[in-house]
């Protein structure tokens, strides 16, 4: 048995040892135990947090069941998004088509819930049987006056990334539909924050303190009405670029709104995110406010981090996340805790992200694209990692290997954004890496 899938060698690089560029954005080999998901998954996770919209999954029950409230995106108001609506296609529908069922389901739903908007997610099977979801959506929009937006997210049409694009396309149909709104003087949109563990609320407070208002967050704690008017903002601040770059670029084209790529994770990146916004508005008062905020927060944070840093100094971390951009912030944040990143990879990273990772990581660090449990477990052992940062499928693997774990995906319980998020991160990493449980395990 060869340890790795043969064709995958180009997708693995050890800094200082391998000369080749990391290959990425490739299809997974058939037969791999890939950690990746599908197009539908990408769309669903992006749009799900819009809380006053009705999200109907058009397909067999599984697609709706597996994405039922797993995102952990919080809403400060409506909770309609947490219900699971599905056309629950059966054999008969597959043979005769599901359009009628879709139409009748939505008529009933719109009547009883009167949602602000409806998203219909197309799944694999809908693509294959050829239901004209767009036509049904148009008809319902006309008949009910509610925006019914098709999300063309057939699972097989690519990777999760293509799902992000499908979600962005659906969002763009809502953007700009309220033109009467008068924006405040300094206003931004946050793109690509999903309000996991209430992270958006932390950021909103920071921006408020420096004197900037958020018109819309796409899509954390999202509301349809905010999406409609968000084209009135002066600036788009993109956090999860993997998912939201498309909207940022479209809005730049269509509404002339510039965008900035930022990260809210770690002291450095969080501070930059505030400074960049202040700088954009070119108002010395905003900048002064930002500087005050950062210095106040850092003054509180640094001493609070100290005890954790002492315990974590010299420990090693492995990272395997969805998009590679957040891995960059993670590497920096880990460094702040005195930790070194020895493995870093992602499901859907692009060349730019990986190049930057190769630059900022130390010699000997393994960089990997679209990895699988066998590889990950080997890399972790080779490099002697003490911590694994990943998602739901990586957690038990890390534990079995006797490593600490931190979730940086859907199942995150702690807010990791902002200065307070950095402290939460330190606590979580410390709690896991230094847990007494590891002493019972003979590695």
């Amino acid at each position: 048995m060869s340890k790795y899938i043969k064709d995958r060698t180009p997708q693995i690089v050890t800094i200082g040892e391998d000369q080749h560029d990391l290959a990425c954005e490739k299809k997974s080999a058939a037969g791999s135990v890939s950690q990746r998901a599908c197009v539908f998954c990408g769309s669903r996770v992006v749009l799900y947090p819009i809380a006053d919209a009705l999200h109907l999954v058009h397909g067999p029950i599984g697609c709706a069941a597996y994405t039922w409230d797993i995102r952990g995106a919080m809403s400060s108001g409506p909770q309609l998004h947490r219900l699971s609506f599905s056309t629950d296609l059966r054999e008969k529908d597959v043979v005769f088509g599901g359009e009628k069922k879709l139409y009748s389901a939505l008529t009933e739903l719109i009547e009883s819930y009167k949602p602000e908007a409806v998203f219909i997610y197309s799944t694999c099977i809908v693509g294959v049987i050829g239901d004209d979801v767009e036509a049904v959506a148009r008809r319902l929009s006309n008949e009910t006056g509610v925006d019914v937006l098709p999300v063309m997210s057939e699972g097989f049409k690519g990777t999760k990334k293509d799902g992000y694009k499908a979600a962005c396309d659906a969002l763009m149909k809502l953007v700009g539909t309220d033109d009467n709104y008068l924006p405040p003087k300094y206003s931004i949109n946050i793109l690509g924050d999903f309000n996991l563990a209430g992270e958006l609320w932390i950021l909103a407070e920071y921006y408020k303190r420096i004197g900037v208002e958020i018109i819309a967050c796409l899509t954390g704690d999202g509301r349809v009405e905010q999406v409609r008017k968000c084209h009135k903002a002066s600036l788009n601040v993109v956090q999860c670029s993997g998912s939201m770059m498309h909207v940022a670029k479209e809005m730049e084209k269509k509404y002339d709104i510039p965008f900035k790529k930022v990260s809210y994770f770690g002291i450095e990146d969080m501070s930059d995110a505030l400074y960049e916004v202040a700088q954009h508005f070119n108002d010395p008062e905003l900048m002064a406010n930002a500087r005050t905020l950062v210095s106040e927060e850092i003054a509180k944070l640094i001493p609070a981090l100290q005890p954790y840093r002492q315990k974590l100094e010299g420990k090693k971390a492995a990272i395997y996340v969805g998009g590679a951009f957040k891995a960059i912030s993670l590497v920096k944040a880990l460094r702040l805790l005195g930790m070194q990143t020895v493995v870093v990879g992602s499901q859907t990273g692009n060349k730019d992200d990986y190049n930057l990772l190769q630059k900022i990581c130390d010699k000997g660090t393994v960089i990997v694209d679209d990895s699988n449990p066998n590889e990950l477990s080997d890399f972790v052992k080779q490099t002697g990692a003490d911590l694994f940062i990943g998602g739901v499928k990586e957690r038990p693997i890390a534990y079995k290997l006797g490593l600490g774990f931190c979730d940086h995906n859907h199942e995150r319980k702690e807010a990791l954004a902002g200065f307070v998020g950095m402290l939460n991160f330190a606590k979580e990493v410390y709690a896991s890496v230094c847990s007494p449980v590891w002493k019972f395990i003979q590695k």
């Binding site: 037969g31 135990v33 609506f85 059966r90 009933e108 294959v128 097989f156 690519g158 739901v392 395990i441």
Partner: protein, 460 residues
């Protein structure tokens, strides 16, 4: 109020499921396949399916769940997935080295018409399957049945592929397990051992999905029914199948192909269903019921005696899989409780018939529904009409329980907001004791928390 949108009045729904009490076939096929030693499940479809099923099982069992995927693309959906599956089989044997690949289909591969049997035959003919290794396949379209159907179909495939009748009859009993926890699988083995019967249990997810900590990541943990055991099932004296929805096909296959007769039973949940299971085992293995088991039964009945006044008349709403719900309703009736509302998304006509048998002249007390539109929205509407004292079901029941302030017992799949469920059995007399303990804890805690100060009791 997470479910503030649920209306008390029942809306006539023709084409819609809201908050499903089921999921789709492939996850069941994956779970059943994991109960065979050295087996790697393989999902023939888009990557998402495999990813979702692995995540769903991981969240519930808190263990690594391995499975490969055919990674369908647009091309495969047009030209068919044969090339993907053939390539996958090659890749899997060379990289992951399982003894068995258990391929299941998805709605996508079913609809484009991939014939798994033919593709697997081709893989064998092309020499892609190394000597002594196996590829088995099950058809599990997501738009038919539910997750239980997928479990059923994969279990049937496993048995059909491996069990062989030889001239050498074996003094052993086949035990076909429905979808239960690894701890239940272990309990089934403990009971058989106590009875002194050699059994072959399939599937057996104990030591796979509740594997001990070793400091190593093992692709194929120690547990699971082995190939020689599976082969030997054709020579067994009898098959005891528990959980009709999950095991019927496999039981019939053993009967048809190897002439091993079967008893089709409920899952042994509660006193009566466990009695039937023990009697069936005792007959199948031609052994007397040992005193030890009688004493376990005695302890369960003793516990009911001690506490029966607390159960009387309590109304219960339940949702989940038919195989669990039927014996659970029977058990609740024996506790003098009232299973008032029962919902299962899994279709099957015998559900109504069995419910009527179990409830007898008490049938008017229950509202039940399974199959189309039998979902948690329906259950919640019923609960809103007349409240219940207890809710039993998987984690998603939490929304209803919190909104309506109902004590809530987590049972079924998935449970993603508590741990421990996969370590303690609910089957057998000992499992009955655990269910009782849990129910009593909930009812009494509710009483404590909701009693006015002067009525709080120390001794209950």
């Amino acid at each position: 109020m997470l479910l503030r949108h649920t209306t008390e009045k029942e809306i006539d729904r023709k084409a819609l499921t809201i908050n499903p009490a089921k999921t789709c076939q492939p996850v069941g096929a994956m779970y059943a396949a994991l109960g065979v030693h050295g087996c790697l499940p393989h999902s023939h479809g888009s990557q998402g399916c495999c990813s979702y099923h692995r995540s769903a099982l991981t969240r519930h069992y808190k263990e690594p769940v391995m499975a490969a995927t055919s990674s369908f693309t647009e091309g495969s959906s047009v030209f068919g997935g044969q090339a993907n599956l053939l390539q996958a089989i090659g890749t899997i044997f060379s990289v992951y080295d399982p003894d068995i690949i258990a391929v299941h289909s998805t709605c996508l591969s079913e609809t484009i018409g991939d014939d798994l049997k033919q593709i697997v035959a081709k893989a064998n003919a092309d020499g892609k399957v190394p000597d002594g290794k196996h590829v088995i396949e099950a058809s599990t379209p997501s738009y038919v049945g539910s997750h239980v159907t997928g479990y059923h179909n994969m279990l049937q495939s496993i048995v059909q592929h491996f069990a062989i009748k030889t001239d050498e009859a074996k003094r052993q009993v086949n035990l076909l397990a429905g979808w239960v926890e690894p701890s239940d699988m272990r309990e089934l083995k403990r009971i058989s051992k106590m009875m002194g019967i050699k059994t072959v249990l399939v599937p057996d997810t104990s030591d796979v999905l509740d594997a001990p900590m070793t400091g190593k990541f093992e692709m194929y943990p120690k547990g699971g029914t082995t190939i020689p055991e599976l082969v030997s099932m054709g020579d067994s004296m009898k098959t005891v199948a528990i959980g009709e929805w999950a095991t019927k096909g496999a039981a019939i296959a053993l009967d048809n192909n190897c002439k091993v007769p079967f008893d089709m039973l409920d899952l042994p949940i509660g006193v009566k269903a466990t009695d039937r299971f023990i009697m069936s085992l005792s007959k199948a293995g031609a052994v007397a019921v040992p005193e030890e088991i009688d004493r376990e039964r005695g302890r369960l009945v003793d516990m009911i005696t001690d506490m029966h006044q607390y159960f009387y008349g309590k109304r219960v709403a339940l949702f989940g899989d038919p195989d669990q719900l039927l014996p659970l309703c029977e058990f609740l009736l024996d506790l003098d409780m009232v299973p008032a509302y029962v919902v299962s998304g899994t279709p099957g006509k015998t559900f109504g018939k069995r419910m009527k048998e179990i409830f007898g002249d008490k049938i008017d007390q229950v509202k039940f529904k399974n199959g189309a539109n039998a979902d948690m929205f329906q259950l919640h509407q019923w609960i809103k009409q007349e409240g219940v004292d207890l809710l039993i079901g998987n984690t998603y029941g939490k929304y209803i329980a919190l909104d309506e302030k109902i004590p809530f017992l987590r049972m079924g799949f998935p449970i993603v907001d508590r741990v421990g469920h996969s370590y303690f059995p609910t089957l057998g007399y000992m499992g009955g004791i655990r269910i009782l303990e849990k129910i009593l804890d909930l009812l009494m805690q509710y009483q404590d928390e909701n009693s006015p100060e002067e009525k709080v009791e120390l001794v209950m």
